[in-house]
């Protein structure tokens, strides 16, 4: 498979040209069937808008490639008729949890029980996002007033923040999760390193806001005025005044994107400087026409 053969340099294992040629030959004669198992992927819809699932789908043929070679979609009410939450290697959970809705609370608990890795997909699942502003009083469940990010009810392994989350990030996490389950030792190490900051975000907490930039970046003496936060904000609530973030906090929908995108929130020096080879690995994994089945 393209993916399994593509991790070469990341772990400092230099491959000589002669070896590359030999590998290519071996690859050509490889059996048709996938050598490794696909992972089981599920999409769990809590109080979300399905925009996160649309973001998954906006990987276009990349998603088809992932579903061909690396993952089976075992559960997704929007796309398949499996009615109950099955066992999953990776659960992509979007939306927050209404604690006055019994079934929702059961669903999120069941998801944790049935999944090896729980991913909070998108800002509602990570941080509450727009549902932070819910306060009930609307027909025909006026008592449905309290919503919490899933991390307040179950342990979450990985965050994919963003409203909407970027298709590319969801894709990267899916590919890395596959490597984590089915790769060799080097690939597992790479996937672990890649996912670590997204796991750290999950440990950090369940609130997102423009204020993160004040509390954890500017107030901490870390802001260097690059402007990334302003680019990432989906509602243009951030401008830069004399090189520093200015937040229009009544515009902010509390998605937590700006802090996530900020290069002074996490900047993992064991991964990001390897951008060229990691980009190649991901591109190779998704190359069309290399499907083994």
């Amino acid at each position: 498979m393209g993916l399994l053969n593509s991790v070469k340099k990341i772990m400092g294992v230099e491959t000589k040209p002669a070896q590359v040629a030999m590998e290519k030959k071996a690859e050509a004669t490889k059996e048709k069937k996938p050598v490794t198992n696909k992972i089981k992927l599920g999409h769990v819809h809590m109080s979300g808008c399905t925009g996160c699932l649309v973001s998954i789908a906006d990987n276009n043929l990349g998603l088809i490639k992932i579903l061909d070679d690396y993952a089976d979609l075992v559960y997704c009410l929007t796309l398949a008729d499996v009615r109950h939450i099955p066992e999953m290697d990776v659960a992509l959970v979007e939306g927050s949890v209404c604690i006055q809705d019994h079934e929702s609370v059961e669903d999120i608990k069941e998801t944790r029980k049935k999944s090896k890795i729980v991913v909070a997909l998108g800002s509602c699942a990570c941080y509450g996002n727009i549902t932070r502003f819910s306060r009930g009083g609307q027909h025909n469940q006026p008592q449905h007033e309290s919503f919490l990010p899933i991390g307040d009810l179950i342990d979450v392994d990985v965050y994919i923040p963003g409203c909407p989350p970027s298709p590319e990030l969801i894709r990267n996490v899916a590919v890395m999760a596959y490597l984590l389950f089915e790769g060799n030792e080097d690939q597992k190490a790479l996937a672990g390193k890649y996912l670590k900051p997204l796991m750290d975000l999950a440990k950090r907490g369940t609130t997102g806001c423009f204020c993160d930039l004040m509390d954890d970046v500017i107030n901490q003496g870390l802001c260097m005025g690059c402007g990334t936060c302003a680019a990432s904000c989906p509602v243009r609530a951030i401008t830069l005044e004399f090189g520093k973030p200015q937040g229009e906090r009544d515009l902010c929908i509390k998605c937590g994107s700006c802090y996530g995108a900020c290069p002074r929130s996490f900047f993992n020096l064991d991964v990001i400087p390897e951008f060229e080879s990691i980009n190649e690995i991901i591109a190779d994994a998704l190359k069309e026409g290399e499907s083994n089945d």
Partner: protein
């Protein structure tokens, strides 16, 4: 591929300057950043690039998406103040409708681009549309008011009269349109530095496709690192097209030795700052973004 602990990964390093006389007229050094972006635009490698254009106040940079040679040329010259280049990164792929975005900036801005490529958080379309990055060397930066204090008070010059500023040989140099030169010892400028620069562990824009700066090469020339496949391809073509004069960096004074020495000083000093943050308080520390 050379992997230098202080100068980053690179294929080759040369001393170079543009052969475009018009570009050189107002370039800070060898006109590398301007020439590369103009070349990339004319060759269709990019269809626009984020540059530090002219702001509302004298010597205040304003990030802009430049889509013509004229607009790129307007961004020539170093402005020693913060230009939030990355604030336009996503918009360049939206209302500007660009497919191949160029980005210029300093080290931390190159880092921001690479983070957005690998971990795009509300940065849809950005990873695949970053086409070419040119990073400048950067020792530290100043808020606008800092730069104002340095130029107006310490150097005693009117900002409106300044033609060029330069930090070199231990001094902050101010050149005026009418030919005057004033200097400020760098020691006096330290307190004005942007605090966020003190945790920066990158001097020569390690994560750019091509990085360029002044240190290591004579006046009017730049030290250039060609780092990635993208950078290598563009540089080779541009040199073949006669856009640059080049010399092997080994044949140039003061060359890589001085550059590596300054890079080491920056990284060692800032690494120490990063360390000290861990025990900044009593039984408490400050956050470390690299942890």
């Amino acid at each position: 591929m050379i992997e230098d602990p202080y100068l980053g990964k690179y294929v080759t390093c040369v001393s170079a300057r543009s052969t475009d006389k018009e570009i050189l007229k107002k370039a800070q050094d060898g006109g590398i950043a301007t020439t590369l972006m103009v070349y990339a635009l004319e060759e269709g490698i990019i269809d626009g690039t984020i540059v530090a254009g002219e702001g509302d106040k004298p010597w205040q940079p304003k990030p802009e998406v430049a889509m013509t040679r004229e607009d790129i040329l307007k961004a020539r010259g170093t402005r020693y103040s913060i230009s939030p280049q990355i604030s336009w990164l996503k918009e360049a792929t939206r209302s500007f409708g660009l497919d191949k975005v160029g980005i210029t900036g300093v080290c931390c801005q190159m880092q921001a681009v690479r983070k957005a490529q690998l971990y795009p958080i509300n940065m849809r379309d950005v990873p695949g549309k970053v086409a070419f990055t040119v990073g400048l060397f950067c020792m530290e930066n100043f808020p606008y008011k800092s730069m104002q204090s340095i130029v107006e008070d310490h150097a005693a010059q009117s900002l409106g009269s300044v033609k060029k500023m330069e930090i070199t040989k231990g001094k902050f140099w101010v050149y005026t349109e009418r030919g005057n030169v004033a200097t400020v010892p760098l020691k006096e400028t330290h307190k004005y530095e942007q605090p966020g620069c003190h945790v920066c562990l990158d001097y020569v824009s390690n994560l750019a496709d091509i990085s360029t700066g002044s240190v290591g090469s004579p006046d009017g020339w730049s030290t250039v690192f060609i780092r990635t496949k993208v950078g290598n391809e563009i540089w080779s073509k541009a040199v073949a097209a006669g856009l640059f004069e080049t010399k092997p960096i080994e044949e140039v004074k003061p060359g890589l030795d001085l550059l590596r020495k300054l890079a080491k000083e920056k990284i060692d000093k800032n690494q120490k700052t990063v360390e000290e943050r861990k025990t900044f308080g009593v039984n408490k520390g400050l956050r470390n973004p690299y942890a």
